[in-house]
């Protein structure tokens, strides 16, 4: 899932300073699961902002809404009326949700209430960790199912580097060395021969380095759109 966390309250306050009627829009998908921008967080943020702006002597109104999936137009239609009423939209979705609202309701400014952080998973209660960088050319088959692009601090394809010690990465004793994990996994699978092969230079053009990406599936396109 997409993992995000809320921006500091002061930063949000500064963003909305010029507006009176603010619509906070949460999202029911990834950011709900990671407790950053679901219905509950929308409610908590609205109360905090009501209180904080009142203390600052400002007269602001905060409206609340949560859609099931902010990255798709059809779900956002539900809040079209509320958007009309508001001076500004504060989105508690990932950056994709923010941009979907921006495109869909260009007459209103949509502000980001979250920092979209990474693609990852909850590893334990209250902890999330990065797992994929959407490189566009998955190498997991070669690495025992552990991603070196997202999880090795240097995205090495031929690790572990000389800084790997006691299973941890040289940059932080709290970060597992991805290549130690890969080594252990391949050893358990009796596939250590994969550690002996030189993995050639990666083609990064399938990733962000190739420019903004887009997928077109002709088989799925509607006649009129193509």
């Amino acid at each position: 899932m997409i993992v995000a966390e809320q921006k500091p309250l002061d930063e949000i306050k500064a963003m909305i300073a010029d507006y009176e009627k603010i619509l906070i829009v949460g999202c029911g998908t990834c950011v709900t699961v990671c407790f950053a921008g679901g219905e509950k967080e929308v409610g908590i943020l609205a109360s905090s902002l009501r209180m904080a702006t009142k203390l600052d002597g400002q007269n602001k109104e905060f409206l609340e809404a949560t859609v099931q999936r902010q990255c798709e137009y059809e779900y956002n239609e539900e809040v079209a009326e509320q958007i009309k009423e508001a001076d500004v939209i504060l989105s508690l979705a990932c950056g994709i949700g923010v941009q979907t609202l921006t495109e869909q309701f260009p007459e209103k400014l949509t502000l980001p209430g979250l920092n979209t952080t990474f693609l990852g998973q909850p590893t334990e209660q209250g902890v999330w960790a990065e797992r994929c960088q959407a490189c566009g050319d998955c190498v997991l088959a070669l690495t025992g199912g552990i991603c070196p692009i997202a999880r090795c601090s240097k995205s090495l394809l031929n690790g572990p580097c000389g800084g790997s010690q006691n299973g941890k990465c040289e940059i932080d004793p709290d970060i597992d060395c991805a290549w130690q994990l890969i080594y252990d996994r391949l050893k358990a699978l009796d596939k250590l021969d994969l550690m002996m092969q030189i993995k050639p230079v990666k083609d990064w053009s399938t990733g962000r380095d190739g420019g903004p990406r887009r997928i077109v599936r002709e088989d799925l396109r509607l006649e009129a759109a193509s």
């Binding site: 601090s153 240097k154 995205s155 090495l156 394809l157 031929n158 690790g159 572990p160 580097c161 000389g162 800084g163 790997s164 010690q165 006691n166 299973g167 941890k168 040289e170 940059i171 932080d172 060395c177 130690q180 080594y183 550690m195 002996m196 030189i198 993995k199 050639p200 230079v201 990064w204």
Partner: protein, 308 residues
Amino acid sequence: MKAGSNLEKVLAAGHFAATGELGPPKSADREVIEKKAGYLKGHVDAVNITDCQTAVVRMSSISVGTMLLGLGLEPTIQMTCRDRNRIAIQADLLGAAALGIKNLLCLTGDHQKFGNHPRAKNVFDLDSMQLLQMVKAMRDEKRFECGEEMEGREPRFFIGAAANPFADPFEYRPHRLAKKVAAGADFIQTQIVFNVPKFAEFMKKVCDLGLHEKVYILAGVSPIKTLGAARYMAKFVPGMDVPDEMVRRMKESPKEKREEEGIQICVEIIQQVREIPGVAGIHLMAIEWEEAVPEITERAGLLPRPQV
């Protein structure tokens, strides 16, 4: 001969090689280079020039390498994958070769997190293994990474790589070295050796794999200057193995004698690694203590350096 550098000739002639290291200044002072070069000249066969080591901005490796050539020392430039993509690396290497530089050490590079610009964006387009492959192909096949053929003169380097026998997983380290040899390394410079028995164990496996016959292995050594430095390396530098015994020796020697003790330990280690089968030389890293190099090389019996 791959590149015909002094270092390559010394090793090819079967001499026990000694390379040094020079840390460029965090400024544009040429005088610093001249001074440090003075300590190294005549005492080592080639001098490594770090490439923004520990991700701290310093004078660039190639520019200092060029200055060393003018001063009559042979440089080994270092190139990391942290700050440059394949385009910049190849461009810089063409320039380095045209300037007369013949030795190149290929590294992944330290992460920027602990450097002086931790907010920088890193590159890591390639890793050290792929960098080795690329520079070897530039030299031996006259082609760029993209496969395009090079017209005109190709950059010819005596290609080096690093190996850390003390990093984990220990059992994999000789195999990673094998990969570097297969990728194109002509010589290897190891992480600083303090734990000699562990290094010997590593070298035994390296020799069992027959790697010592395919690549020249130079054992990294370094004098410890202070007790604080010994403790710091023992505790905080990932991939560094400083036995308690060494820290104890530093601690037990009187404060004013500690530098001498550090040099003594270094000399002993050089003599010990020299006896280990498969070791073709030493790489002396007296970073920010270059003035210790003449004494260490003298006492370790490494002088005079061979003329080849």
